[in-house]
Subunit: 112 residues, 2 copies
């Protein structure tokens, strides 16, 4: 099991802001995942990886592919109180799910 | 309600690695929080902030003060597979808890 967060690097967010969006995506994708996936992921130390997405469109495309594959995912739109405009897509959380299933979606993305 | 993550900035982690540690702390502190705090935080959009800690000692001191104040907190020690040595303290998650209670602990820390 693993979870990945894909950051919209086009925004060039400051590191702390980016990290908060990644945490947001991690908690949110976790909460929409099935209980057995949650349990299995927690038992193996909740491995998570942060990857680079190139744009909002790239994240939307990934979300669509995750949904088509029935892999839990959650798209973060920023509330817009600080650095970016309201509704800006900042990050996509995928899983926890089986490593092979996630790699099929994100295997070509680079580490953040 | 809010949650804060305090990063050990002495490690100068790469941004993606740092973000993964923050997400780790966020999920972990959430899971050790009481159900009513979890619910209240989710209902207000799970606000979270990432702050700078100066050292392992600073994070350990904060953890002790959180425990003394009965505020849920979770210290992340890295598994050491990638960038840092095994057991290195990378991040501390505090809350979700009442904003005033968290500010009493971390009000003097700077944004990451």
């Amino acid at each position: 099991m693993k979870q990945v967060m894909v950051v919209n690097t086009a925004l060039a967010l400051p590191p702390g802001k980016m990290a908060a969006q990644v945490a947001h995506a991690s908690v949110s994708a976790f909460l929409v995942s099935p209980a057995d996936a949650q349990r299995a992921w927690l038992q193996c130390g909740m491995p998570k990886i942060v990857l680079k997405g190139l744009s909002e469109l790239a994240l939307l495309d990934l979300l669509e592919r995750a949904e088509a594959a029935s892999i839990p995912a959650y798209l973060i739109r920023d509330a817009g109180r600080t650095v970016v405009a309201e509704g800006t897509i900042t990050c996509l959380g995928i899983g926890p799910a089986a490593i092979a299933d996630i790699d099929r979606l994100t295997g070509d993305l680079r580490l953040m």
